[in-house]
Symmetry: C2
């Protein structure tokens, strides 16, 4: 059925530069559906309780979790400590489309849809996580109705959030789209304004826009003091101004 494009990225591994951007785009959007923060299906207390039941997995920096090299291992991953990098092969280079942090839950939605994730995951530093094989996941849902109920809300909220972000992009001027994207994707950072740690190429792909066009707007924002453009990173300075531009 039509859902198949969720994993088109992995299947169509051609290196053509046109499809490469499509691959990055799909993966980047799917990566926004990770269970995180208030949208995570499991509360920290749940995770602690489950750690006793389900075997934790320890990984050294650089070890792969799923995708490509591991032969695409289905199941749900729950990060307890460390960071995991989500990347997609595009041509002969790797583009990072997201990073998992402690508390994040990944893999449930592809499991529910019966599809593979369009990206590969690799431990950045030492990582501790829980891995639920599909059978474990089913048992978890069957034995803990309260968790199942929260998981339902979590899935709905995560998909709806991404859905809504996409709708908000349709048919708006590029500056408004970009401001919205930056605000949505900003990492809540220690020091005030957030940071978006993605290369301009990925940002452009997410908006379905050419990189030069995006760069122009970005530098424009920088000239007006709204953001600070760095290497593979954009720091948001004037949140209010960006919000104004978003809804212009």
């Amino acid at each position: 059925m039509e859902l198949s494009r969720w994993s088109e990225a992995l299947r169509t591994a051609r290196a053509g530069s046109v499809t490469a951007d499509a691959t990055v785009r799909d993966a980047a959007w799917v990566a926004r559906c990770v269970g995180r923060g208030t949208n995570a299906p499991l509360a920290p207390a749940d995770v602690a309780a489950l750690a006793a039941t389900l075997q934790p997995v320890d990984l050294a920096a650089g070890a792969p979790l799923f995708g490509a090299s591991t032969g695409s291992d289905p199941g749900v991953w729950i990060i307890r400590s460390g960071h995991v990098e989500l990347s997609v092969a595009s041509g002969r280079n790797r583009v990072v489309v997201g990073v998992l942090r402690p508390g994040d839950v990944e893999g449930d939605i592809p499991l529910l849809l019966g599809l593979a994730l369009p990206y590969a995951a690799r431990a950045v530093d030492a990582v501790t996580c829980l891995h639920l094989r599909p059978a474990d996941f089913e048992e978890l849902l069957a034995r803990h109705p309260a968790i199942a109920r929260r998981w339902l809300s979590s899935v709905a909220q995560r998909l709806a959030a991404s859905h809504e972000r996409l709708i908000a992009l349709l048919g708006r001027p590029l500056p408004a789209q970009l401001a919205g994207l930056l605000l949505d994707e900003a990492d809540g950072d220690p020091d005030g304004g957030g940071v978006v740690r993605l290369p301009q190429r990925t940002l452009a792909a997410m908006l379905g826009v050419a990189r030069p066009s995006l760069n122009k707007i970005l530098k424009d924002f920088e000239r007006h003091g709204h953001v600070e453009v760095g290497y593979s990173a954009v720091r948001l300075i004037d949140i209010a101004a960006l919000q104004r531009i978003r809804s212009a």
Copy 2:
């Protein structure tokens, strides 16, 4: 939080022609998330069994189900017979964004997200349906783990399908976008090729595109014998050709 735009349509009832299109657009996309066919959370057998437990509701043609006049009645609606029209007020006219058919399930996702639907529903002909108030819905999920489990898959699939359709639109030439939209939204009709029963204005809004631009491409399709353009309806003639254009 940002999910609020799901219902922005109803709240911001300004009649400005710019926002009117945004309203139509949002509503039309949300309407694609109705539980239908293989994505419905309930099998026909489930519905029959529940009919004994939960009070059915009968409505005459023209009666409102939810939205506007009923003061936005939350809950889940399950259509057993008849047709229900989903429409949104845009300026001082009503635009239909979708139609519910027997077996369709509507209202669960807004309930999970805690938001109102952005459109109003009205019975087109005599309608029989089941209405679950929020408490009924919770009880249904709590007492029938198997149904809860299927509901989880259903929600994931419906949102992912809409999500995926949106991604497929980004940055593609208009003809490809339109072909994709027509193929996705076509009503499986008795006689061979499907029909899309939406005014061009709604189609244009869904693509975030101006109506003249859409009309141009549509007439182009008609000239090539791919579709037949009617009043508030487009009949698909050459499915294969449209599929070719979609992935051009």
